[in-house]
Amino acid sequence: MFEASQLNIRNRKVERLWGLLFLVMTILLILPVLVILGVLIYKGGPILSIDFLFTEPKDGMTAGGIFPALVGTVWLVAVALLASVPVGVAAALYLSEYAPDNWLTRVINLAIINLAGVPSIVHALFGVGAFVLFFRFGTSILAASLTLAIMTLPVVIVATRESLQAVPQAFREACWNMGASRWQTIRHVVLPNSISGILTGVILEVSRTAGETAPIMFTGAAFFLPFLPQSVYDQTMAMSLHLFVISTQVPGVPEAMPFGVALVLISMVLVMNAVSIAFRMYLRGKKKW
């Protein structure tokens, strides 16, 4: 009794085969990431130094460092965050906590999904038309960051809405039944229990804009500008555009340089992601329900 039959043995083999197939696919998935990182470290690693990070490009960008581009990218991402977070969080609060389930809400949700699908070059042209020309911000950090902000709004909204909806409905009901208004409920219960999730989610999403090139190249990023920006009305260099420029537009750049720039750029994003994931894990461990 209980011995494996022919059919059992066959099933077991098939089972093992499928498991193996899925494993191979998963490995194929992470392979590109490993190869990219490996090549970047191998080819770009040697050029990295404190000097590379903190000096200006020299000799027509064929030598020197990347400091203005590094600072520029930080500016761009920071201003984009400042612009997109308040709007995105407010919109998500409305959609999650206030909006009735009617056609208008459904249209808004549909619009958000569609906005997320707009190609970045289209956002770039919109940014030129709206911020550079119509609002007369000129090509500036402000115009470029606002363009990035519009581009990231959908993901900010979605990330925020997910965090808000992770707060159990029972908490809201408990609050309402003690006479709290919607805003009081949000202020005292919903936000304190989701703000950490919102922030990490948003940082995670927005950090991806650090690598965007198209939306900033017509709106605020400069080809070569060996000064640091003084205000949001200045143009600036940016890592992503700088990488594009030295890889394709400038002759005589040493081979290691673009790889170095790419390595720094990818490290920036990875560090931001890692911090935000660590933060999230820490908070999840602290959650009380």
Binding site: E173, A174, G179
Partner: protein, 261 residues
């Protein structure tokens, strides 16, 4: 003058209360007079409208957009469906306890004081005042001795029975007149049920308690008056001892004897 005296004796009074969820009618011409300071239980098979009735008395039903209510509900003599009525004020007077204990993700102390803080608005609550209110409320629900040493700990860490008592305690600081309880013991074990029933019994007189239950024995043990509902209508409303011994109505008798449920 007569009507005012009568109003004072009645905590909840409904007249021709009809309620629809979309096109489904859940309540039919409900006329109830619930006496102040007493414990009234509502029994009846699932879907008979007892929870719906309960949820109309502090107007949380309206949160579902498709609910339509007609007729009147007066709490302490005042119609709560008048346009100038503020929902916050209604809920302050009419507190609700749910099937599943739902403490907020705050400390025990902050759970108890939460409603009071909301009611005080901009005014700050001093620590001394806070501690006094918290102690009084927790003593009232027979929880003080168990939790007095861990008021700062999260309320989620309490047992279900303690959580449910806490959920009752947090209603008390704003001095409600009516406590609505929607099967408050259904998530508890027999010991917890007994403890919470005991507490409900303690609170009678000071508060008007309306308790929905599936548990006939509970209605019998822990209430003074009993309302039997069936298919959205009130069938019978009498003192509890009478409904269980000499029900007037055949349908009531059949339900109580467990012929349907």
């Amino acid at each position: 003058m007569d009507s005012e005296l009568q109003a004072a004796a009645l905590a909840i009074e409904t007249e021709k209360l009809n309620l629809w969820y979309g096109t489904f009618q859940a309540l039919y011409d409900v006329d109830l007079q619930i006496k102040r300071g007493r414990i009234t239980s509502m029994i009846g098979p699932s879907g008979c409208g007892k929870t719906t009735f309960l949820r109309s008395v502090n107007r949380i039903n309206e949160r579902l957009g498709y609910v339509r209510t007609m007729g009147s509900i007066r709490v302490l003599g005042h119609d709560i469906y008048r346009p100038e009525v503020d929902l916050g004020q209604v809920r302050k007077q009419v507190g609700m306890v749910f099937q599943r204990p739902n403490p907020l993700p705050l400390s025990i102390r902050e759970n108890v004081i939460f409603g009071y803080r909301l009611a005080m608005g901009q005014q700050k609550v001093s620590p001394a005042e806070r501690d006094e209110i918290v102690e009084k409320a927790l003593r009232q629900v027979l929880l003080w001795d168990t939790v007095k040493d861990r008021l700062g700990r999260p309320a989620i860490g309490l047992s279900l029975e303690e959580q449910q008592k806490l959920c009752i305690a947090r209603l008390l600081p704003v001095k409600p007149a009516v406590l609505l309880m929607d099967e408050p013991c259904s998530a508890l074990d027999p010991k917890g049920t007994e403890a919470v029933e005991e507490l409900i019994w303690e609170l009678r007189g000071e508060y008007t308690i309306l308790i929905v239950t599936h548990n006939m024995a509970q209605a019998r043990r822990a209430s003074e008056e009993c309302i039997f509902m069936l298919l959205g209508k009130v069938i019978e409303h009498t003192p509890t001892e009478e409904i269980f011994v000499t029900p007037e109505n055949q349908e009531t008798a059949d339900y109580i004897e467990g012929r349907y449920g």
